[in-house]
Symmetry: C2
Subunit: 426 residues, 2 copies
């Protein structure tokens, strides 16, 4: 039999990042009746199958209005297509409307989800074994995993103040930091955001250290109640310092799997980094499904390019749930036994507890308490124990959220007892 040994396969396959994702996917399948505060998926409340043909129709009508005849419309949506995508001009208009980002549509590569945008960017930037990626820590496991797939080590940056020291130490070790991955708005997993002064400071630091910034922004449209959005790094970027990683999974439709990257840096003789990423894309997925792009294109047309407007109902749900989550924690843990972040938006709250949170504990929580969450250890690229867990509030009803919090409270209370803490304070 032509069977294989794991040690003869690529090293990423035994790496914690890839196995994290796998474990987290599997546990939710193993405990389908547990309430999930783990998944960062968007609410399904307004999903409508009829939207798909409706968006396709809007996009087809748009193509006709651009002068395409019927054969060309069919070809654009159903045939192989342009490597950089067919909705790039619509994406550029969306970025102008929602983010005040002005960008040449030719600098946009439409990708098979934002994950492919990350992979292409890291693949391009990893030229040899001295290259490293810097990433804010804790970091989204998808960036760490994509880096592993292209053999690019990741150096964690726990705090922006650490950035110059991390860069200096890396260079002293003969390493070449190629970029710094950040999620300035309502980050996954921390829930934290950068204030405006920090954004400006980061752009200055990146210029001083000659680093690209890789800005990932899946949650920017979802501020908490009463919070004003801040400009993205890309909107503040006047020197092509920022590669912007865009997602429509939370704001468009996750089932389309359409994302994009804005890469307006010039390369060598004047071409764009986007064109280099496009060459890589031709060998990764050839082009993003034009049918899927047409669905997203139709949604962009439908909302006159403002996904901010299109997501009004979703924005309210997320803001209400986020408040319910932090208020619910405050009601249930009034005496400081545990602590949690109070994010200014997004889907995630990090709860710090006085015991180590590992996968075994998650399994126990799922099995005995019927509630799922994510051990924060999955977002650190080390084996060090982590006393925190991530809660997500995007894909639950208010009733489910309350029940999940009750279950979580029982679980934490029992853990406090087991870990030698008094339960009296509860």
């Amino acid at each position: 039999m032509a069977d294989l040994d794991l040690s003869a396969l690529h090293g990423s396959l035994t790496d914690r990042a890839l196995n994290s994702m796998n474990f987290l996917n599997e546990i939710s399948h193993h405990y389908p009746d547990a309430i999930s505060l783990a998944a960062g998926r968007p609410t399904e409340e307004f999903f409508d199958l009829d939207d798909v043909p409706r968006y396709l129709g809007l996009f087809a009508a748009h193509l006709r209005s651009e002068g395409l005849d019927e054969a060309a419309v069919r070809r654009t949506i159903l045939q192989y297509g342009r490597t950089k995508g067919i909705v790039h001009e619509l994406v550029a208009r969306n970025l102008a409307v929602d983010e005040d980002i002005q960008v040449d549509p030719e600098a946009i590569v439409v990708t098979a989800g934002c994950q492919e945008a990350m992979l292409l960017t890291l693949r391009a930037l990893r030229a040899d074994a001295s290259d490293v990626l810097l990433a804010i820590s804790p970091a989204y496991v998808g960036i760490t995993g994509a880096a592993r797939v292209v053999d690019l080590p990741v150096l964690p940056v726990p705090d922006l103040d650490d950035l110059p020291a991390v860069v200096k130490a890396a260079r002293a070790d003969g390493l070449r930091p190629r970029g710094f991955y950040v999620m300035p708005d309502f980050a996954n997993p921390s829930g934290l955001s950068m204030d405006l002064a920090t954004r400006h400071r980061l752009l200055s630091l990146a210029a001083a250290e000659d680093l690209l910034l890789l800005e990932d922004n899946p949650y920017g449209l979802f501020p908490a109640a009463g919070i004003d959005r801040l400009p993205t790094l890309k909107a503040l970027d006047t020197s092509r310092r920022v590669v912007y990683l865009g997602s429509f999974a939370k704001t468009g439709l996750p089932g389309a799997r359409v994302g994009y990257v804005v890469a307006d840096q010039t390369v060598g003789d004047g071409g764009l980094l986007a064109d280099q990423l496009s060459k890589l894309k031709s060998m990764v997925t050839v082009n993003t499904s034009p049918i899927a792009q047409a669905v997203i294109g139709g949604k962009l047309l439908d909302c006159d390019f403002s996904l901010n407007t299109a997501n009004q109902r979703e924005r309210e749900i997320y803001a209400d749930n986020l408040r319910a989550l932090t208020d619910g924690l405050a009601e249930r843990f009034p005496n400081g036994e545990i602590s949690w972040t109070v994010p200014s938006g997004g889907f995630f709250v990090v709860v710090s507890v006085p015991f180590t949170v590992d996968d075994a504990l998650l399994t126990r929580s799922a099995q005995d308490y019927g509630v799922l969450w994510t051990p924060m250890s999955h977002f650190y690229d080390t084996d060090a124990p982590v006393n925190a867990l991530r809660l997500s509030c995007s894909a639950v009803t208010p009733a489910q959220l309350r029940l999940a919090l009750d279950r979580l409270t029982a679980f934490i209370a029992d853990q406090l007892v087991l870990s030698g803490r008094s339960e009296l304070d509860l």
Copy 2:
């Protein structure tokens, strides 16, 4: 400005394979009025935008018939989904019906086109710098390019008889051949097929040399008139020796960008290679667009799992065009000045000419003669001159094909004169 030097980016970006694809894409955009015998895309004659919602509806009805409620149907098609895909069981039934391949649906990973299937497979197999891929030569540029993206060198195998010697030489050099890429049916670009005895011999050779076979089969359903199809390597494979790379681009709908890989090899403790590829996929594209998968799933349901039946009209067009192409060459070049393959199926004919065929010549052909084709040099991984060009007959009408052949004949006649050959024989 944060601009970049090409030399600081990944080496694949200066590689001929990636720039080949780019050049070939660009030239067809530069000469939109030239008739293309270059593109290997499927015929657009039966494209129908209404098929998309119809297939979506069929797939949704199928999910309901499997017991899913409306919320679960919406979630399956519109939400993030299973990494290995949602149409794996339908694909397995299609493989049984059309190819007599019996495979556990769990061994299938549905991918963002067959290109991603290649990339994932090569990424998994490339563990260190001693690993190499063997590939039949000339080879589809997409496999060479995918290998470049994962830093995997490709050793060409011009003829199956060379395989043992190539393997032996590689091993003597300290290299580890990880697999042998082949397209046994109506290959791109050669148009050639393996006979049944050769298929059996290849399976034996692969077992003797302990090589995986990577079988790519995008054209198998399109035999020439009067030709019987042969079993694929995977259908003959009794020892999990073959990784089968599947495409729906020519048989389903190219705009869906849905492909798959059958990887039923066990890895280590009994999991499947498919599960390892799935871990990589979670870091490349997360999952293949469920909307796109639903379109292909609906088409598979619509034809009762026989794409062979569903493509009856397309099969006739391709068979007629292939005969018209080779007959047309025979009429126009009766005296042996040039030669060409007469394939038993597929889209491609290779024409050998007594002069070097390079990109400059293609540009001249496009500009001065209004006909596009593909220099065969793009399918060899060397700079050696190649005296051949590839013609594709899949995406032209009979009238376009005749006109293109007339133009090609004028072009070749002029080249024969320029290269010092007499034009008298024409």
